[in-house]
Symmetry: C2
Subunit: 128 residues, 2 copies
DNA sequence: AGCGTTTTTGACAATCATTCTCGATAAGGG
DNA sequence: CCCTTATCGAGAATGATTGTCAAAAACGCT
């Protein structure tokens, strides 16, 4: 059975109060700075669990996994600022359908997809 | 200036005769088995170069980078079999446009995107 | 509240892909 | 053929992530 611990709650909360994607390392550092004593391994475990349960989205960038809290249960994609990490959740209904069609046309079953858009957000566009 | 070496050519060719995505490690192993003496670091360097030059596509999966030869110069996406790695290049014009629009609507500039569809190919669907 | 069972934790070691280092090697131009 | 300079290769170094295992803490039960 799954147990409820203050560590997991701390990770969940830290992730929730974060703008954009964070790495496990960064989140651990932040927790430590806030006086928490969670272990690094625990943060990794908690994030992996959150991702499995659908309470967090994850993506790989430059060899590390980044996580972000997300509205649970809803399927969506992201628009991510390459510079500051700010993230906007976007619906992509037309793309969902397109993905299904393309998969079917090629005889593929159980299609799943990765759709993310990277760019520079308003502020960062100015700053360049 | 960029020099032409048999090592780079070997990597390029090995990649070209590969169905689906391969990891640098796997490609190196294959080259070694074929009697080649290329070093692992060289394979990594060659693949990174090919990706930059647009002669190879890359994607990250489970913490490792996978590469695949691709039709140079053309922008496209992939439909990848989760089980055997077979890959189909797909055009996604409607998605390209959609990505641009969504980015613009949110004030993002220089949009780039990652669009990949995973599933089970015809053969693997039967095998399950 | 007290107990026992079982999951979770955390410090550290271990792993694994990738990158760096640096002397040796070889491409290409002249 | 020679010289300059990019590239190679072997192994060390790095850095994120995962495994190990004894100690700590949840939860169900009484």
């Amino acid at each position: 059975m799954k147990r409820h611990t203050w560590q997991r709650e701390a990770v969940r909360e830290a992730l929730g109060t974060t703008e954009g994607f964070v790495s496990a390392q960064a989140l651990h550092a932040r927790l430590r700075d806030s006086g928490s004593s969670v272990g690094l391994a625990t943060v990794y475990r908690a994030l992996a669990d959150l991702a499995v349960e659908g309470d967090a989205d994850s993506l790989q960038q430059e060899g590390e996994s980044l996580y972000r809290a997300c509205t649970p249960g809803s399927h969506h994609h992201h628009l991510i600022c390459r510079r500051c990490g700010t993230t906007v959740e976007i619906a992509a209904d037309p793309v969902e359908q397109w993905a299904h069609e393309v998969a079917a046309q090629n005889g593929f079953t159980r299609p799943d997809h990765v759709v993310d858009i990277f760019g520079y957000c308003v502020d960062c566009s100015k700053a360049l």
